[in-house]
Amino acid sequence: MIRARGLEKRYGRRRVFGGVDLDLSRDGFLVVTGANGSGKTTLLRLLTGLAAPTRGTLEVDVDRGGIGLLAHDPLVYRELTGMENLDLFGRLYRVRERRERIGMLLERYGLWDARSERVASYSRGMAQRLALCRTLLHEPELVVLDEPYAFLDDEGAGLLDRELSELAGGHTLVVATHDPARLAPFATTSLALG
């Protein structure tokens, strides 16, 4: 599903990483590790199509509607409620049975009670959970997670563990993390940057 050869990304004179080769088959689980600043986030941006490589080739066999990204930022509007945020993205992603799916996700991640409150009033952990809902809303084939355990409390982390075990094997996943041991049971390949 993903194939990269000699991937390099630079911003002007600043080289973020180079010479990266990568093969990820459908339903595989890739764990990306590396120190801060090694380019994990940049690599993930390349895989989702938010940035283009400076050199090398990159083939990703999914179109935009089939990709879900959990980034460093929650990617949700502060002034909208949790429900409104998911509704907006649900429309943009043409999610079928939008209402039901949103309701199901909010329940699953313990946000149902907070659904009508503005994101500005959420804790960072709640915002991260909402971001997860947004990522999975449209049932993407390729799920890209950038340090998903950050900001999650134990309960949230447990929910994420459960989600990952359900996704693995039926979806393609790329996860950047500082804690590869946690993902060891799921990982099929790994890549170390920097």
Partner: protein, 212 residues
Amino acid sequence: MTYLADVAALARKDLKVELRARDTLPAMVLFVLSTLVIFHFALPADTGEDAAYGLLWVAIVFTALLGLARAWVPEHEHGVLDGLVLAPCDRSAIWLGKTLATLAFLLAAQVVALPAFALFFAPLSATALVAVVLVDIGICAVGSLLAAMAAAGRARELLLPLMLLPLAIPLVVGGVGAAISPEGERYLLLLALYDGVFAVLSWASFEYVVTE
């Protein structure tokens, strides 16, 4: 058509965000009223109405700049712009939704400003009012695009006026002409031409500004 549905969803989102944050629109209204009062003091006693009509367009351009400077702030707050760009919708829909919302705010501010102008200075003809709408469209269309460009860099509050003001010159000419010239229709045509050309250009090039 899903394109229009996307645009509607995005524009509605902007209206909702503003309704809750309530910072931009009140500021625009207050700004334009203060500016009109300053103009009164800035004009010497014996200047004719024409000078006031000229200054109206200056007030509109600067009020629009105020609104545009804040236009993309919600998208940058939690990196949401990436989320929108990732979505399968056409990127130009993001621009169109934002332009329509900014246009709505500008028109709302003018609902207060234009009667105030008529009260302080001189009445506005129908041609002038049509010109106001055309100028609004032109400035919001180009301004939304430029604001998105500027937002990616440092000194974004400084950059937007610098980029937009030269582009606003034809609009000011069109507006003033529509308000004071006996051949006002010519100026309306100029404005319509500007809007047509630059709106299409902005619509087509937005994609390139938000992607790498």
